[in-house]
Symmetry: C2
Subunit: 620 residues, 2 copies
Amino acid sequence: RMQNSRSKPCSCPSLKLREVASMYFTMVAAFLVILVVALQGSAPRESDFPYKVPLDPQGLLELSWNVSYPEQAVHFQLLIRQLQFGLLFGMSDRGEFENADLAVLWSDGHNSYFGDAWSDAKGQLHMDSQQDYQLLGARRAPEGLYLLFRRAFSTCDPKDYLIEDGTVHLIYGILEKPVSSLQAINISALHGGLQRVQLLKPNISIPELPSDMKTMEITAPDVVIPSQETTYWCYVAELPAGFPKHHIIMYEPVVTAGNEALVHHMEVFQCAAEFDSFPHYNGPCDSKMKPDRLNYCRHVLAAWAMGAQAFYYPEEAGLAFGGPGSSRYLRLEIHYHNPLVFKGRRDSSGIRLYYTATLRPYDAGIMELGLVYTPVMAIPPGEDNFILTGYCTDKCTQLALPAAGIRIFASQLHTHLAGRKVVTVLSRDGRERQVVNADGHYSPHFQEIRMLKEVVAVFPGDELITTCTYNTEDRSRATVGGFGILEEMCVNYVHYYPQTQLELCKSAVDPGYLRRYFNLVNRFNDEEICMCPQVSVPEQFYSIPWNTFNRDVLKSLYSFAPISVHCNKSSAVRFPGEWEKQPLPSITERLPEPVPRCPPASGPQPAAPEPLNLGQLRRD
Amino acid sequence: RMQNSRSKPCSCPSLKLREVASMYFTMVAAFLVILVVALQGSAPRESDFPYKVPLDPQGLLELSWNVSYPEQAVHFQLLIRQLQFGLLFGMSDRGEFENADLAVLWSDGHNSYFGDAWSDAKGQLHMDSQQDYQLLGARRAPEGLYLLFRRAFSTCDPKDYLIEDGTVHLIYGILEKPVSSLQAINISALHGGLQRVQLLKPNISIPELPSDMKTMEITAPDVVIPSQETTYWCYVAELPAGFPKHHIIMYEPVVTAGNEALVHHMEVFQCAAEFDSFPHYNGPCDSKMKPDRLNYCRHVLAAWAMGAQAFYYPEEAGLAFGGPGSSRYLRLEIHYHNPLVFKGRRDSSGIRLYYTATLRPYDAGIMELGLVYTPVMAIPPGEDNFILTGYCTDKCTQLALPAAGIRIFASQLHTHLAGRKVVTVLSRDGRERQVVNADGHYSPHFQEIRMLKEVVAVFPGDELITTCTYNTEDRSRATVGGFGILEEMCVNYVHYYPQTQLELCKSAVDPGYLRRYFNLVNRFNDEEICMCPQVSVPEQFYSIPWNTFNRDVLKSLYSFAPISVHCNKSSAVRFPGEWEKQPLPSITERLPEPVPRCPPASGPQPAAPEPLNLGQLRRD
């Protein structure tokens, strides 16, 4: 590591000074003519804030927002149903209250104040030197107080959160007592929580819907929500006998009124066609009573998560269901999140499918990108950002995609509990061209199908590279790839059209090279470790004495060793060809890091050349 | 690698637009009332610009400057002896004209303009959106035109060079024809060059000098500078017989008038005391006629490089010379840099030593930090920034330093041709505390003894960690550690007091672990490589088939394997103790990266909370 300078770290005004300055501002503000910020006339229309999510499990705080891409800003409308002495609202990397970027409304009992603040690593609040949560208005209504404010995506204030595509962890806290100043707020004593949303919804025009469109609701049959924090509820529905092939062209959530804060996410799966019938189960998914056969209901038809809106297929495509070769059985899965352990709440939420018999030109398909579910891909324990990458190679797309290519229009990222970031990049001729989907604040607890801002065209010979970042700081042994909840996955389910035979385009390190790694660890380290070939790969990973060398060499292996490519028609059937010991795709040109747009810094002079009078320049 | 966003890279105004805007400014400027920027009255005193260096080998451009640490700015005075149609002056990473930060004076034949510009990766000039070279004045004098301008260390304009401690590569170019605009300047056709300087000279108060101070000039005896680009001249001088012990307390360069641009650097070495006499040689250092014994004249007494000023010892210390146990023979080495191949220039440059018989409280000492000169530390070929680190461990300082510690007051960094950066950091209890010396633009062609801005106190138990960054992109085989010019070193000669027995505190990787690495490379790679133990370490490094895996694993080895520590009284005698297979010092806390001070960005609102009138907050 290189130090650039031998100077001491840049001095910041001490905390004391900051506090004094901020108190001064507060006092000045109190003597100012009180600014009445109030909207005149009627309330803003609901369409002004098309996205809505409850922040707390009781639904006392309700956030609506809109996104302006031309302005590169989000407008928020926050409804506070029972305002006490103010509240905190903000964003942080993963929902923590430390190092958070906050808009704060507080009252000292006499006056109320609004300001942009930040919390340090210890959770202490500070006024921001640059006020980027801009208050636009406040309005009393029978249901509560509405606060309207605006925030640019990026502010270039290093204390501010950068609003990006993908998951944003919103945090809130309620002030139950008056406070003399912002600095006096004790975050640890607040009643607060977090809510995950995709803040930057894509700006997509809604395709025209056909006149013969029908709807079908797949909803829970008046379920009593269990009085426990987490429940996955399973319910099997059945299509009518002889239901012919249709295209699903849209779906939307149906959430029972009052349960908005409890219904966390819902998915509809189609069961496997190879079984004639499935039991009509209705109960918790983890119950001992749940029939095993329901494990064969895994083909996603629709998925919704809190904060998401209706999902529209592009007008050229629809998702086929019904007809021969397609199961009539559907499984609805609802994740109830009930942290306050409400009892006896009844729920009939679900998903409303909009479908048509007038088939669109293309069937939509779903393709799995990323890593094969195999223990050869493993993460050492104690890592804060270990990276694994899965490749869909040029050879596979060359073979499996039509010459006209496919169009990816939506994506669902998937890892298990250690996943922190996921990104898929499209590369062509060794040059990264486009991000297919990225989530730098990915949470395994918030897996939505997301419409892409821009449809991505993928052609034969393109490469799709999916990279996942994991955190295993709380684990004491290696985390291997696999199906178990404590094993890991790195998957991007991409939704595309026209449907092809390619269902799965993933990779894993060549097992022979992994054996060489185990041998190397055996020989390099002083300890006598039994990593005999007869021991399973997970056992070998579990027995490695993890140190920086064994960790670094595993990283080097994954970024060097050839791969085994799964270029499959279905999860068991490979396309013909040689798929073992394939070279890693080489990238010669990376996408540039996006540079956030900032207000231009005020330079000492304008950008014009300065004319001089020097007389005649040349001395002859 | 994680993409943070799926948005396209932030759009910048296209080059076209930039150019149009800049041309517009140029035109507006031409119609403005011509600004007469001229200093009234007499010329600035020389003491206003204490540092001076010729930029070009003919001395047509002469740069003087001063450094204001309170303002964090440098003031430049540039003397242009024969101005034609303008000139470029600026800074870049390593002296290249691409990606450079430039102040440009240009004339279209009628008017002259001054502006802050930058060159892109292709060398095309652009006006800077933020003007950070601020013109302060221009003045005609008999000797030429003086331009005065100012530049803040850091501007936070990403196109600007960040002025840091250590080497700065200055570049200049002369405009020999009028140009219609800044954009019309063709850099590749310019007559130009580079000059290395330490721009940020430390701000040190000069210690009081004793009344009995004497001087001695060690100068070349009217040498005819050879008409070739590079000459190292060697001249042996002799102290009078019976010369007793003195303290050198200061030295300064003596440069023959007119040769300022040719004398690149000079060093005075003391010869080894074990030989009674040395031949009085006077000739090129690489001549076949040079007596071998001169290789024993390596103890540095004084070193000067272009742009450096007088060197003062701290008032408590002096460098001992003379007296018993000290050789009477001194070797002066002068590096003449004569790229224009002037013929017949005579030179009597050298160094003037200021010394006193009234010995100061402490003898000053020189200690070598960094890497042992051994081939076990090697750099793969084709690397653009490969890092090697040498450790002076807590165990060694514990044993060798006095309880009151030592004070490091100066430092000379040293590598061979592949060196690009050098830094030494002081660590205590596993926490980095202070940068001893750092050069992020280090050049092996510019090795000065530099006074430290702040004296660094080192106590028993402290660790001194020296890190070098190398570039081997132009090499096709590994570069191993060693004495040869194509081998590498990583050394920091620190000057300190009081002198201790510790002359050398360096390290290298444990050779047993390196053998394991060779075995591992042998086994992991498919090729059959002969890296049998009877082959030398360099031969083994040369035979490695370099790929990312072998490279990464070597990095992992160097940052993991135990080290052999050289904690030596003289280069051959170790302090008693166990110095093999020592653990690498572990660093639990790094120094923060220095954050450059910038003009504050203009935020949308002041940092005061906004008072609101919401009526009574609490609804009872």
